[in-house]
Symmetry: C3
Subunit: 309 residues, 3 copies
């Protein structure tokens, strides 16, 4: 039995297979509409996340299965002091697969060790959120046709953003990927990523402070939010914040085929005037997330649907 804890749990080959499956699901949804008939997913969300929870539930329903679970810790037995290990043994009697979101790093891993059903880490604190990475990869692959040969801008809070770190880790496995990191000095990419992940793998990258400076060369811009409380002082925040807001003017500097991605929810780091730009892909990303999770569920449950129409 297999779990998904980290975006690197799958080899490049396995990932290729999973994303091929996601693409086939997109093309032939009716072929998969009953693949999980009679199966159940448990969505165990110890902290709320509507987007992620509903994406898993949608994925399972699209496959013909059904859903049990809870949307926040307050309505769970965690309040009665039950351990995650005991909860997953209970859930193993109820469901066929489980997606767990937990504020504590490592909780899904602890669960997986005692589980008799596949456990998917749906976000554990600031640690990992592998299905966001699968979503990002599937979106890029579907819209750009490849995961290598790309110059990728990552903008915003690059220090604390787990989504960004996971995506870098996943993308360095492909050929000829270059990064442009766009962030205030306080929120630069951590040195362990620069050293261990980028330098050791001989990955080309540069760091800039202003989004404008990066725009012209990007194949892809991955936006994230910059929270005010991350800045050292108010002055810096006021001076810098507009550098990290994507608007029409900045989009005018970008290539015709540059994609804009965002893990959502966005607050104001992408101006709504960008939404109608054909290069804005962050809402399509939500749809790709459903296909990626459908493929993941089928893969972990080892369910194979016959090829062909």
């Amino acid at each position: 039995m297999r779990h998904l804890m980290s975006p690197l749990d799958f080899s490049v080959e396995e990932l290729d297979q999973l994303l091929d499956l996601a693409a086939d699901i997109e093309k032939h949804p009716s072929k998969y509409a009953h693949a999980c008939d009679g199966r159940k997913i448990a969505t165990l969300f110890y902290e709320p996340s509507t987007r992620t929870r509903l994406s898993f539930e949608t994925a399972m329903l699209n496959l013909g299965g059904s859903v049990i679970g809870f949307a926040s810790a307050s309505s769970s037995s965690a309040a009665k002091g039950e351990s995650v290990s005991d909860t997953i043994r209970m859930i193993s009697c109820y469901a066929d697969i489980c997606a767990m979101r937990h504020p504590k790093e490592g909780a899904p891993m602890v669960a997986a060790m005692k589980s008799s059903i596949p456990v998917i880490n749906a976000g554990d604190g600031g640690h990992q959120h592998p299905t966001q990475t699968l979503t990002d990869l599937h979106t890029i692959r579907s819209l750009k046709g490849r995961l290598g040969n790309l110059t990728i801008g990552l903008c915003g809070d690059l220090k604390f953003g787990r989504t960004v770190h996971s995506l870098i880790n996943a993308l360095v496995r492909y050929e000829n990927v270059k990064f442009v990191f766009i962030s205030p000095d306080e929120l630069r990419i951590p040195s362990y990523i620069r050293e261990d992940v980028l330098n050791n793998n001989h990955i080309e990258y540069k760091e800039v402070e202003r989004l404008e400076d990066a725009m012209p060369e990007l194949d892809l811009l991955y936006m994230t939010r910059v929270q005010k409380e991350r800045f050292f002082n108010e002055e810096d925040y006021v001076r810098l914040k507009d550098f990290y807001i994507l608007d029409k003017a900045k989009m005018a500097l970008a290539r015709e085929d540059m994609l804009v991605l965002h893990p959502l929810p966005r607050v104001n780091e992408i101006s709504v005037e960008v939404d109608d730009d054909p290069r804005a892909a962050y809402f399509k990303q939500v749809q790709y997330g459903v296909y990626a999770r459908m493929a993941l569920i089928l893969t972990l449950l080892d369910i194979h649907v016959e090829e062909g129409e």
Copy 2:
């Protein structure tokens, strides 16, 4: 694509068609049991309302579809600052139709503008609650056989009750409808309804302060709650409150075929001793609400089930 924002969004003809469909669903439920196979409704309840939420979910399940959503804002991504516009674009990737309850007037309209799936306003603050009106109309039509030629009493808080205002707006479109408004002076029907809706349409109405005075002439009595905090002073409240409590004694003054409706939940404005009176229709109303919502879902999704057994 069509949304439902206000009870007047449907013309009288369209409404007739929708209520005919609701009646057919009641008669032949099995004919519709798979009409929405593979479809999903999203119930987005930014404030809790068990009755309305479960009515929508029951309606979709009765049609063979399934449900995703949230029951309160605390477990939604609204807490992370996401706009309703962004949320609906996400939900458009997950579900086929959406019912939204929101404390803010106009929020479902804002959602509808960015949605790629039909949005149903399931109550927006003190503004509109169109599926309650559909429920009321379907109940009246089913039990009285008509929507015109009726003398309708409306009792309770007529000043702030959105349900009452919507029902008046919907009923004035039918022939020979007369109203009797029963309320304390503080909670009289607003002047814009008296002027714009009633006088301009030459609708007959009168206003009385005591339920007893109205009972004998009514074909239908629509009860609503009178909240203590709406009164100007304690003295008035004590003097008046019993006038607006429906009990067996007051029912004795009514016609044999007068119907009692109530949007529920009731607190004490209808005495439980009235519940077994055959004229009490407020629990049947809940059932009619399910049929009305089933018809609405089919209509907005443009799904047609073949006629005949």
Copy 3:
């Protein structure tokens, strides 16, 4: 129409039938996979209980049915002052059967009186929790092959534990059942159970203060939690608490075929080192709870599935 309010609602013969059905479901799950197609259970949980709620939902989904409901009072219309009687009349329009958990003793009984669908008491305050008892009986019967001829140890808080009281009441109906009560003096089994249930039925029992003293003679050990706040003073708690913690050392004193049960969630009253002991049956118990609830739903809905493969 029939409800389930107390574990004694079923006669010994009816219970035998129900547990036979549960056993058949375990053996031939696919035979029952569509027994409740098109039916709905409403899970009305006025206080949270993930284990019990998800067990009912799993049971209904395993039978092909679907689920509506709420997981806590805060998202229910109870907050608006609606009575349980009114709520169940609403729910009767939505669902085919209902499981209700309520902090107030007797609330499910009040609901049952006004309901037009079967109501299952899923726990009412400190009063009854009959499906836990069904679960316990089904677990014992499945793993020991019988409900009579057993020496049963009950350990922990025997004064306030409703689970324990219900189980005693249910087991005294079988032949040659003996009890060993293991608890601190403060938390002894109540005198009305000693007098009315045990002595009047000529049931053999003894009371001991230490788990070690009871272990060697037991066929079955039913563990429950001892809460610190139940003790009269801190000194007693410190002196006694380890007597009621089951660990490997105490298990070494028990018979080879002694079963350990626990209603869960456990906190620390069973050491995790016991989990892998083949005699530990508390996680299997969760699974048996699903079968018992499936059998209960079918029984109350009077649905019969043909015998044979």
